[in-house]
Symmetry: C2
Subunit: 203 residues, 2 copies
């Protein structure tokens, strides 16, 4: 479809601009409420890098307000009826960020394990963040987005027994469905497992 | 758009067929992993009604296999790239269910709080099921789907303290954004709060 081709063209343009300014960039995809904003907050709090963020949501500015407390370089995108960000939206958001003043850019995509897979944004890496509270089968159920990701984060591991989820089953699915993808197990509330993930981001 | 108009036409047709057979029907929308399948399982286990189910997922038959253990009247729909069920897919699924043999039909939609809002399926009622583990702002962030729902279920209330979520905030959002929608607070693992919700379904 033309939409996908047009998006790839714009994503390449975004990538060119980010590289020109030497900004390392990440597309944080994942399920609704999996912990995307919390993990970005933890990174900003623990890193000495200058961080910019684009928050993507269907409506409102909840995530924008949370990030705004930690960095001035943040832009909100409301997608309205669209259930994913695309490279065109990101292109306009980049115009509003002073790329000279940041080292890292996180783009928090709309919570959805389907459509974001088809719309790369032009970032260096793509990460898919899910939570054990969603059950142990979300990787099997949504293979395409995990195959597009460079890393998978399985968050809220502190709650696995309380939802009756066997983390080994999730690990097996990741190894089967996306064997070349880095896998991190985290608890973003206590910070457990985040060090390894942040080292991979800065790697 | 024509797609939406065409969908409404087919949804009316589905509704006509279901009413002809006297089948009470429900569209279970909601976030990924919020507890939709678990709540349907609980209903089948506790009710004396004959239940049919259409399970909608992007890929695989995980939910189908779970429901198959409880009722023979179950059909799986794989939506592939689509992040929502539509009336056309449901029309074909209905052809595979013996509607004479069931009293209730549950349609478990794809986990997504955006697009299902625009695609009614022709059921009597629409329910939106979210979980406290997704945070306390998912109603504010996705107003459209909650305004389409006849009832909202906030599930996994047993975990609210562990994710730092204030249920009162969610209740306030529901009263503000969709004041005419019935609200149920549940813990589908222990069964707490399900009686009231099931009474509303059978009401
Ligand atoms: N117990 C526990 N709670 C967590 C963890 N990570 C995040 N939370 C909680 O989960 C809820 C959702 O976290 P967010 O960071 O808002 O999730 P999100 O993915 O950004 O959500 P959306 O942007 O709405 O899709 C909040 O109440 C967090 O406090 C974790 O590792 N363990
Ligand atoms: N603690 C707790 N766990 C729950 C509750 N309801 C469901 N779970 C668990 O949450 C996970 C997801 O439940 P499912 O019923 O598969 O959720 P779903 O909405 O059908 O998921 P998808 O079809 O993948 O979108 C499972 O591990 C369940 O055991 C609850 O009320 N409390
Ligand atoms: Mg967020
Ligand atoms: Mg399910
Ligand atoms: Zn989409
Ligand atoms: Zn959609």
């Amino acid at each position: 479809r033309d939409l996908i081709k047009e998006n790839i063209k714009l994503a390449r343009e975004n990538s060119r601009i980010l590289k020109e300014f030497g900004v390392k960039s990440f597309d944080f995809m994942g399920a609704i409420g999996s912990g995307k904003t919390t993990i970005i907050e933890r990174f900003i709090e623990s890193s000495n890098k200058r961080v910019g963020v684009i928050t993507g949501d269907v409506a409102g500015n909840e995530d924008f307000k949370r990030i705004r407390r930690l960095t001035p370089h943040v832009v909100n995108i409301n997608t309205g009826k669209e259930c994913h960000l695309d490279a065109h939206m990101v292109m306009h958001a980049l115009e509003k960020i002073d790329l000279e003043k940041i080292d890292y850019l996180f783009i928090e995509n709309v919570g959805n394990l389907v459509c974001p897979a088809d719309f790369p944004l032009g970032t260096d890496k793509r990460v898919c963040i899910v939570s054990v509270t969603e059950g142990d089968d979300m990787v099997r159920k949504h293979p395409l987005i995990f195959q597009q990701a460079d890393a998978v984060v399985v968050n809220k591991i502190d709650l696995s027994k309380l939802v009756g989820v066997d983390i080994e089953k999730i690990k097996e699915d990741v190894h089967r469905i996306c064997p070349n993808t880095a896998l991190f197990l985290t608890d973003a509330r206590s910070g457990k497992g985040l060090d390894d993930f942040f080292k991979w981001l800065e790697g």
